[in-house]
Amino acid sequence: MVKRLQQGDAAACEAVIRAHHRFLVAMATPLVGQGLADDVAQETWLKAFAAIKGFEGRSRLRTWLARIALNEAHALLRQYKREVSLEGWGVDSGSPIASSFSDKGTWSHPPAQWHHDSPEALLTEAELHECIRKHLHRLPGDQRSVVLMRELGGLEFAEIARATGLSEGNVRVLLHRGRQRMHAMLNHFEEVGTC
């Protein structure tokens, strides 16, 4: 795929845009706002296609794109003399599964047995895709951002901390809360069979 991109294959270019554009916009939105997120994504493609020959495949393509997008987002903010304004970000909302434990800290509602035991198996459930997307949207903004950057984007904790102005420890807590909520959603799906 990367080889075809480097040769300028039009179909490959379209496929790669289709696969990652939504991700880039979603990742940029909390940093620069909805209005500028499309610009960040567009600028990312300009830079990416100009530099694709230098892509050595040491990271996933999406991670490489995410790095370019973060640079573009910060360049755009500098240009407009704005700062990333992430008010109220990074405050720990507490465990979303606190009620699953007794006073002594043992499980009173342990997680259900799941029918699927691999990510591939889970992702064959078309209904689940829809459900995951819905719940990703419902995550608090800071958790959603960190989940997007880390899980979907594959960025390092240090990079995410730099991009958001949060501490690395803070990023880890937000990621954990986001994962916990998404786990609760998957657990519900496995238990009940619907979103």
Partner: protein, 75 residues
Amino acid sequence: MLTCKEMSELGSDIIDRHLGLRTRMAVFMHLRMCWRCRRYIKQLRLTSQVLQQLPLDWEPVDTAAILDKVRKHAE
């Protein structure tokens, strides 16, 4: 001794291997005797992997318009 609740709080540090030696030992001991936490940690890892592999091409994207601007820029 770690409680199950404390184990759930350590969940991401466990799957990301971000633990000091002492905590790692305590986690290991707890997991050996607690199937509920074994299940939770396993499922949390699965959740993380599902997110990593989630395809993101559900909404249509105007690829032609984007490529158009890329080409104009390259000229």
